[in-house]
Each structure stands twice: as structure tokens, then as C-alpha cells.
């Protein structure tokens, strides 16, 4: 065993001296952390918008259940959903890669995100931000798709 242990030190140091094992610069981890943060924030924003949009759509078309459901399915901007899920998965993966102090299980983070998104989406809708988006801003076209069949 002791010979093999000595070999561990020799082998590790040899790889370092030969440049086969190179220390990643601090900047690599700083950029990684920033990207993680941006990815997660984007994911929350997009997902929150989707929740708000769904609630907005439900309000916009009255009590006809099947019609409302079909309308949501046909008009739903699925690319944003894919973007949100992708962002969330990448974000969690990056957190696990970069943050050693990360102790929680992934499902706790995912549940936390879903909860934050639902609360934020509901709050935005209740506060009338969706109605403001209908009047102006980059989301005007999407919002108008949802409200056009109402009239």
C-alpha cells in the first residue's frame, strides 16, 4: 500500500509539472457564477411571464372551459416554455458545478422555483401588469393574440 500511496503523490505532481493538470483561473469560476445567476434569473422571469399569461388568458375568455383550454394550447408560445425549462436545467447544473456550499437537494430548488414563479405570476396578474403589457412593450403582440378572440 505505501508504495502505491507514494505513487499517488508522484503521479499527481508529475501531471501538474507536465502541464496535463492545469489550474483553472479564478475568472473561469467568476464568469460561471455570473452566467448561473443570469440563467436562473432569466428562467424565473420567463416562467413568471408564462404563468401570468395563462392567468390573463383564462380571464380574457370567460367561463367556456374547453374553448379556453383549446385556445391556450393553440396560442401558447411553446418556445418560451422550452427556453424556461432549458434555463432552469442549465442553471441547476451550473450551481452544482460551481457552488460547493450548495447543500439542498435539486428537487427542493426546483420546488422553490416553481413556488416563486407561481406567486410572482399571480402577483403580476393581480397587479394588472398583464393589462399594461397589452397596451405597450415587446410582449404586446403575444398578449393581443390572447385577447383578440375575446372581441
Amino acid at each position: 500500500m505505501s508504495k502505491e500511496l507514494k505513487n499517488i503523490t508522484e503521479s499527481v505532481m508529475e501531471q501538474i509539472h507536465l502541464g496535463k493538470a492545469k489550474m483553472k483561473p479564478k475568472m473561469y469560476f467568476i464568469i460561471g457564477s455570473i452566467l448561473t445567476f443570469i440563467g436562473l434569473i432569466s428562467s424565473v422571469i420567463v416562467s413568471t411571464f408564462l404563468v401570468g399569461l395563462t392567468r390573463f388568458s383564462l380571464r380574457a375568455h370567460g367561463p367556456m372551459g374547453q374553448y379556453r383550454f383549446d385556445q391556450i394550447i393553440s396560442n401558447f408560445p411553446w418556445w418560451t416554455l422550452v427556453f424556461a425549462v432549458f434555463g432552469l436545467v442549465i442553471g441547476i447544473w451550473l450551481i452544482r458545478q460551481y457552488d460547493f456550499s450548495y447543500k439542498k437537494e435539486p428537487w427542493i430548488i426546483i420546488l422553490g422555483f416553481i413556488l416563486i414563479i407561481l406567486i410572482a405570476g399571480w402577483t403580476i396578474d393581480v397587479m394588472g401588469l398583464n393589462d399594461n403589457l397589452l397596451q405597450r412593450g415587446p410582449m404586446k403582440r403575444i398578449m393581443q393574440n390572447y385577447s383578440s378572440e375575446k372581441n
Binding site: 501531471q15 479564478k26 460547493f100
Partner: protein, 182 residues
């Protein structure tokens, strides 16, 4: 390198030197931890050759990512965590892992546990560990063999301290039940 002086340096001081001035200081860290880590990895995968490979790979991985290590935390917890991950990956690869059954349990008796002194556990623990599910044997190994605190085990395994305590307590009961039969 002045050996006597270096031996008194903390892990974190050595890491700081490796990062900023002399990468050769990393040999001190490898020397300091390799024996313990090989024992730990061997307890996880029950294969000494693979355990040595795992430890070697872990030291290289740790070196590559050394700038990601937060020097305010304990280096030992960090390197144990890397070995844990590496061992679990290897175990999965070779499909030799002891099943990690969360609901693996048995009818226990709390009174039996009380007369189980720590010294006795230390003597028996290595003999019996192979018969205990990894879920319980790993925190047991870290606590009694590697002499880690609950907080360090919590850092290494990324589970809450309460879960660490529960698993160690269950491991003791399991040992009492299984190992005394041998």
C-alpha cells in the same frame, strides 16, 4: 521547502501558497490526505486498486478546480466530497454499488443502542461496514473512522446535520443487529 515549518501549516495556508506562488506545495496536501482518502474510498467501493485510482483522480480534479475552493471553508470537507462523488460515479459505472435504499430499515430497539460504547464501535465498525447499506455505512465511516464532525459530514454528503445524526444512529442499530450475529 522547510519540512518542519510546512508540517505546521494549515491546509488552507498550503492551498493559498499553491494558488499564488508554488504549485509544489500541493504534494504536501496529497501526502497529508492520501492514506485517509484511500481508506475512505475503499470503504465505499470495496476495491483497493480502484480506491487508489479514485483518490489520484480526485487530487487532480481538486487541483484543476482549486481556485473554486473557498478558503474560509475546510479543505478536508472539500476533498472528501470530491472523493465521494468520484467513488459514487465509479461504483455506478461498474455497477457494484451497494443499493442506496432510502427505506431500508429494520425493527430496532433504542435500549440496545445505549450500551454501545464508542470504543466498541470503532473496533467493530470496519469489520461490519461491508454488510451495511452505503446510505448508513458512509456517515458511520466518516464519523468513527475518519473522525469527522456532524457538520463536516453534512458538508461532505450534502445532507442536513439532523439526517447525519439519524443515519449514524440507524447504522449503530443495524450494526448491533447484523454484526453481533457474526
Amino acid at each position: 521547502m522547510n519540512m518542519a515549518e510546512n508540517k505546521e501549516m494549515s491546509d488552507e495556508e498550503i492551498i493559498e501558497k499553491v494558488r499564488n506562488s508554488d504549485q509544489d506545495f500541493y504534494a504536501l496536501i496529497v501526502d497529508r490526505y492520501q492514506k485517509k482518502l484511500v481508506r475512505y474510498a475503499n470503504n465505499l467501493i470495496r476495491d483497493e486498486d480502484k480506491a487508489i485510482d479514485i483518490v489520484q483522480e480526485s487530487f487532480i480534479k481538486a487541483f484543476i478546480n482549486l481556485n473554486n475552493f473557498d478558503n474560509k471553508k475546510k479543505f478536508s470537507s472539500w476533498i472528501y466530497r470530491i472523493v465521494h462523488n468520484q467513488a459514487i460515479n465509479i461504483a455506478k459505472k461498474y455497477q457494484k454499488e451497494t443499493p442506496l435504499l432510502e427505506d431500508w430499515d429494520f425493527e430496532g430497539n433504542d435500549d440496545l443502542e445505549k450500551d454501545f460504547e464508542q470504543k466498541e464501535i470503532v473496533e467493530n465498525v470496519e469489520k461490519c461496514l461491508s454488510e451495511i447499506p452505503l446510505l448508513y455505512s458512509e456517515p458511520m465511516t466518516l464519523y468513527y473512522i475518519e473522525e469527522k464532525s456532524y457538520e463536516e459530514i453534512s458538508d461532505i454528503l450534502k445532507i442536513p446535520m439532523g439526517t447525519v445524526a439519524t443515519r449514524i444512529s440507524r447504522a449503530k442499530k443495524i450494526m448491533k443487529n447484523i454484526c453481533q450475529k457474526n
